[in-house]
């Protein structure tokens, strides 16, 4: 039995005096899809960004696949990891952003090919082949040579997913992947994510899409003001929230 893909133990994060995460403890099993729900400012995105060390945590412990994130424990003390090592670990974690963040000076294909060639030193031909297949899988085989500004929001986000997958990650983080999309484009992105979940990818999804959380999520975590308020099977939590704050939030978004 493999250990959890992500394990957070009392994770705290402060910006100056503002405490954004006040002790997050949770586990994500391999192949699990966890959806993080909560009002804006509740710390969901910050927590996600801590997992690939885009943010540095102030206390607690955060492990990905059994390895400490951002630090190494030697002789009872934490040592900061050198940039090389932080970057190597990030290659195993894909991330998809609310505002896509595609590289605008590269075509869809180049977006997906750039990092594996540059970072993992894989042969360009191999990566190009893989990137083509991935773009085909997200339904964009006809848009390979398009620049991001020639694509709709939904198409851009699907390219962003393909770009992250081209690194062959073992964990995918989604930071409100559909929040910047026109309503009619949300579905196409969620479909790709659903397919990815069915193929067994471990995913942590910050989202406001209750439907997606219910249908695709294995676990639903409700966060508010930097703490986990409630967690459980999505249908259970959505149908019968135990906490007042969860009820109040769900009544607004459902």
């Amino acid at each position: 039995m493999a250990g959890p893909m992500v394990r957070a133990e009392a994770v705290h994060k402060r910006y100056g005096l503002l405490e954004v995460l006040k002790g997050i403890t949770l586990e994500v099993a391999p192949r699990e899809v966890m959806c993080l729900l909560g009002p804006s400012g509740s710390g969901k995105s910050t927590f996600l960004r801590c997992i690939n060390h885009l943010e540095r945590i102030n206390s607690g412990r955060l492990y990905v696949d059994g390895t400490l994130v951002g630090y190494e424990e030697r002789g009872g003390r934490l040592h900061e990891l050198p940039e090389r090592e932080v970057c190597r670990r990030r290659t195993e974690i894909g991330m998809v952003f609310q505002r896509f963040n595609l590289f605008p000076h590269m075509t869809a294909l180049e977006n997906a090919v750039a990092a594996p060639v540059l970072v993992k030193k894989e042969p360009r031909a191999v990566v190009t082949e893989r990137a083509r297949k991935l773009l085909d899988r997200v339904g964009l085989s006809g848009k390979i040579d398009a620049y991001p500004n020639q694509l709709s929001g939904g198409q851009q986000q699907r390219v962003a997913i393909a770009r992250a997958l081209a690194m062959e990650p073992k964990l995918m983080l989604f930071d409100e992947p559909t929040s910047a999309l026109d309503p009619e484009l949300v579905g196409e992105v969620l479909d790709v994510m659903r397919q990815l979940a069915e193929e067994g990818m471990t995913m942590i999804v910050v989202t406001h899409e209750i439907g997606f959380a219910r249908e695709v999520g294995d676990t639903l975590v409700f966060m508010d003001e930097g703490v986990v308020v409630e967690a459980g099977a999505p249908r259970e939590v959505i149908a019968n929230p135990r906490e007042e704050r969860t009820k109040a939030f769900l009544s607004k978004v459902l």
Partner: protein, 315 residues
């Protein structure tokens, strides 16, 4: 009225009386008179010495001077750009020593006149008669006389290039800061290191902001090479003054030099246009046509070839 009714009805085309612009006619008249006066003076005033302008324009010392001016422009810009990029990246580095050193460099070289800097490098041997390579405060392995190492050309190159580096650093920094931080995060999340994401992601996008002022700087540099006269470099202005010293034809020869500078900066302006187009990739749906493409398209419409087929090559 219902919507259907409105669709069926085609209103008559508007044929309004165009607004008159009397101010434009007055302005045109004033400008035409001024231009006519200028042209008249240029043609009738013998002191312009157009014959002398033509006589020396392609003479061998002048052509040699133009060559040196171009060499100095290219070399000083190359030095300035290399330094500027390095200084900008240092300035934005999390390492306080690097960013401090960069700040200090920019403060010093922007704060002193470039003319003085050129004179200073020209006189460097008075400060450091010899230069050597070796262990700091220890033995030297090789050394040379400054006078042999820092020739006139090198003195001008150092003066112009080191000064340019300070200005260019600020241009590059502005370019880097103009790139959305999400780009950096996306690159980081893909495992790129700082140097990699700078080279592949940030700088190519910063170029869109960096290129227009670079054209400006190059044009400035081309003209500022004339300051190298102070270091006795045989560039365009030096050669011109040499001829003036011999012939006393001051006005025609300065006109000739100005025409050369004007011609060279015109070429640079055209070059800048094409470089900007290159870095505009992925920023607009269709790039504006180049002047040549526009001419070709106009010719093709004259021949009544439909637009749709030619517009595709605009990319």
């Amino acid at each position: 009225m219902t919507i259907n009714e409105r669709e069926g009805h085609h209103p008559e085309e508007i044929r309004a009386v165009p607004l008159r612009h009397p101010g434009r006619w007055v302005a045109t008249a004033v400008v035409l008179v001024l231009v006519a006066m200028l042209v008249h003076d240029m043609v009738t005033n013998p002191r312009f010495g157009w014959g002398i302008v033509g006589q020396y324009f392609l003479s061998s010392p002048i052509l040699h001077g133009v060559g040196v001016t171009l060499e100095l422009t290219v070399a000083a810009m190359a030095l300035g750009i290399a330094l500027g990029v390095a200084l900008a990246i240092m300035r934005l580095s999390p390492n306080p020593i690097l960013s401090g050193a960069s700040w200090l460099y920019i403060w010093f070289f922007r704060g002193t006149p470039v003319f003085v800097q050129i004179l200073f490098w020209y006189a460097i041997s008075a400060l450091q008669p010899t230069v050597g390579l070796g262990v700091p405060f220890g033995p030297e392995f090789v050394h040379a006389l400054s006078n042999n190492l820092v020739t006139s050309f090198i003195a001008a190159l150092l003066g112009l290039g080191l000064n340019e580096g300070a200005y260019y650093a600020e241009i590059v920094r502005a370019g880097i800061l103009s790139v959305d931080h999400g780009q950096v995060e996306a690159a980081q999340s893909l495992g790129m290191r700082r140097a990699q994401l700078m080279r592949k992601i940030v700088l190519p996008q910063a170029m869109r902001v960096i290129v227009p002022p670079t054209g400006n700087e190059t044009i400035s540099m081309l003209k500022n090479t004339s300051l190298a006269v102070a270091a006795v470099v045989g560039e365009l202005l030096y050669q011109t003054q040499n001829i003036i010293a011999r012939t006393y034809e001051t006005v025609p020869l300065y006109i000739m030099a100005s025409l050369w500078y004007l011609a060279l900066t015109t070429v640079l302006t055209i070059g800048q246009y094409y470089v900007e187009r290159h870095y505009a990739r992925g920023t607009s749906y269709a790039l504006a046509l180049t002047p040549f493409q526009r001419v070709r398209r106009n010719l093709s419409t004259l021949r009544r070839i439909p637009f749709a087929t030619t517009s595709a090559e605009g990319r």
